[in-house]
C-alpha cells in the first residue's frame, strides 16, 4: 500500500549531526516530522552510548576492556554485536567486527574529525585480525566473550542498524512512511509515497550532485567507498575499510559501491564487502541478486542486473 503523497512533495528534511555524520529524516506526513525527529535523536543517542568505540563511558568500551572474560551485556549491545557477527558470517568474514586493533594501529583511535587532518605513526605490518569466531555469544544469558587481545569495532554495522531501528520505531509509533539516512546509509519503513522515496546516488564524496536518483520502496540502500574516510598516517594515505586478512586498508578497486538490500544493515555490509573483494564484487553481488552500482577508480560505472541502470552506465 502506498500513501497518496507524491514523492516530489517530500521536500521537508530534518537534518542533524550525530554519530560523526549527517543524519537525515523524511516522512510522508510532514506533521509527523517533529515527533519523528525526537524518536530519531533518541535512537541515535542510544546506539552511541552502547556502541561507540570512542566514548569512554560506552558499553562497547567496557566490553573491549574486559576481553577474555564473560561479560553480561544489555539487550542493545547484544543485538549490535550479534548483528555484526551475522554480517561477518554473511560476507564470509570480509566485514569483520574484530578490526578494532587494526584501526587503532592505523591511527583511527578517536573520532574521525580528529583523525582527518592526519596522524603521526608508521604503517603497521600486515597481520590478520582475530576474526569473528573470536567472539563468543550466549543468547540465553546474554553474555558476550571477546577473546584476549581482540578489540571490537562495530562501525561497519552499528550505524546502519541505528537507521533500521529508527525507521522501524518511527513507523511503529507514528504510522507514517519514513526514510532515515545516516551518512548516506538509508533505511525505509512504512508505506512509501507514490513513486517511492527518492535517494540520490553519488559517484564519490566529492560529487556536488548525485550521478543517479533511484526510488526506494522498502528495505535499505547504503554506499561504501574509500574516499569518504581517508587520512594521512605520517606520509601514507589510508582509509577506514580494513581487509581482515591483512589488517590494512583494502586495496582500492572501487571508488564507491551502492547496494540495495532487505534492510540497511545488509545493504551496508554488502557494499563494504564489495569494496574489499575488488573485481569479484560484481559477480558476488549478482549471485545474491542484489541491486548494486559500482563506480571504478577511473569513473567507469558497473551495475548488477537488478539495478536500474542509467544510460551512462548502460553504455560503459
Amino acid at each position: 500500500m502506498t500513501s497518496p503523497i507524491d514523492a516530489g512533495a517530500l521536500t521537508r528534511v530534518y537534518r542533524t549531526h550525530q554519530l560523526g555524520t549527517v543524519a537525515e529524516l523524511v516522512v510522508t506526513n510532514s506533521g509527523d516530522l517533529f515527533d519523528a525527529s525526537e524518536l530519531l535523536n533518541r535512537e541515535l543517542e542510544r546506539i552511541d552510548r552502547v556502541a561507540s568505540r570512542f566514548r569512554a563511558d560506552s558499553e562497547l568500551t567496557a566490553l573491549n576492556a574486559a576481553a577474555g572474560t564473560d561479560v553480561p551485556v544489555s539487550e542493545d549491545l547484544y543485538e549490535a554485536v550479534d548483528t555484526a557477527i551475522r554480517m561477518a558470517e554473511a560476507t564470509e568474514g570480509l566485514v569483520d567486527p574484530t578490526i578494532g586493533h587494526a584501526l587503532e594501529s592505523l591511527g583511527y583511535d578517536r573520532d574521525f574529525q580528529d583523525v582527518a587532518p592526519g596522524v603521526a605513526g608508521t604503517m603497521p605490518a600486515p597481520c590478520p585480525v582475530p576474526g569473528w569466531r573470536a567472539v563468543g555469544m550466549d543468547p540465553q544469558h546474554r553474555i558476550v566473550t571477546v577473546a584476549p587481545g581482540c578489540t571490537l569495532d562495530l562501525g561497519a554495522t552499528a550505524k546502519a542498524l541505528a537507521a533500521d531501528k529508527a525507521a522501524a520505531t518511527i513507523h511503529e509509533h507514528l504510522g507514517c512512511g519514513v526514510l532515515v539516512s545516516l551518512g548516506g546509509d538509508a533505511s525505509v519503513a512504512g508505506p512509501p509515497p507514490t513513486g517511492g522515496f527518492a535517494i540520490g546516488v553519488a559517484d564519490s564524496c566529492r560529487s556536488l550532485t548525485p550521478a543517479q536518483t533511484v526510488a526506494v520502496f522498502s528495505g535499505g540502500l547504503a554506499s561504501s567507498g574509500i574516499d569518504t574516510r581517508r587520512w594521512r598516517l605520517d606520509k601514507t594515505m589510508v582509509h577506514h575499510i580494513v581487509d581482515p586478512t591483512t589488517g590494512l586498508p583494502a586495496t582500492p578497486c572501487w571508488r564507491t559501491v551502492s547496494v540495495a538490500a532487505a534492510n540497511c544493515v545488509q545493504a551496508n555490509a554488502a557494499s563494504t564487502a564489495a569494496c574489499i573483494m575488488g573485481t569479484s564484487a560484481v559477480e558476488w553481488l549478482e549471485a545474491r541478486r542484489l541491486p548494486a552500482r559500482l563506480v571504478g577508480r577511473d569513473g567507469t560505472v558497473h551495475c548488477t542486473s537488478a539495478w536500474p541502470c542509467s544510460d551512462e552506465a548502460a553504455a560503459s
Partner: protein
C-alpha cells in the same frame, strides 16, 4: 613313607617329561595362548570403558560452562528489535521491509529500486 611317595612322584614326573617332550611343549603353548587371550579381552574391555567414560565426562563438562561457543541465535537478522528469550522469540518488526529476511545472509529488497526523475532529498555515497 611320605618322603618315599614324594620322591616316587617326582621320579614319575621326570620320566613323563623325558618320554614325551613335544606334547609337553604343546600343552605349555596352549596354556600360554589361553592366558594371553584372556589378558587381551580384559585390556580391550578396559579401553572401551575408558573411552566411553571420557566421552560422558566431556559431555557434562561442556554443558557446565556457558558462553564459550558461538551459538547462532534463533532471532531474525539485523534491522529488527528483537529479544531472544530461552524457549521463545519476541520480534518487533514494526515496518515493512526492515525485517531481516530468513535470519541469515544478505537478500535483495522486497521491491527493487527504480529510476526516478524526482529530485532526491537525501544522497547516498556523498559523505
Amino acid at each position: 613313607m611320605c618322603v618315599s611317595e614324594f620322591v616316587s612322584t617326582l621320579t614319575r614326573m621326570v620320566e613323563a617329561r623325558e618320554s614325551n617332550p613335544s606334547q609337553v611343549r604343546r600343552a605349555a603353548a596352549l596354556r600360554r595362548d589361553r592366558a594371553l587371550s584372556r589378558v587381551s579381552g580384559i585390556t580391550a574391555g578396559i579401553g572401551i570403558a575408558s573411552v566411553a567414560g571420557l566421552g560422558m565426562i566431556g559431555f557434562y563438562v561442556a554443558k557446565a560452562f556457558p558462553g564459550h561457543q558461538y551459538a547462532h541465535p534463533t532471532t531474525p537478522s539485523a534491522g529488527t528489535s528483537s529479544t531472544n528469550v530461552a524457549g521463545g522469540v519476541e520480534q518487533n518488526t514494526g515496518a515493512t521491509g526492515n525485517t531481516g529476511v530468513g535470519g541469515q545472509g544478505i537478500t535483495p529488497p522486497p521491491t527493487a529500486p527504480q529510476s526516478t526523475p524526482v529530485a532526491p532529498p537525501v544522497t547516498s555515497g556523498a559523505s
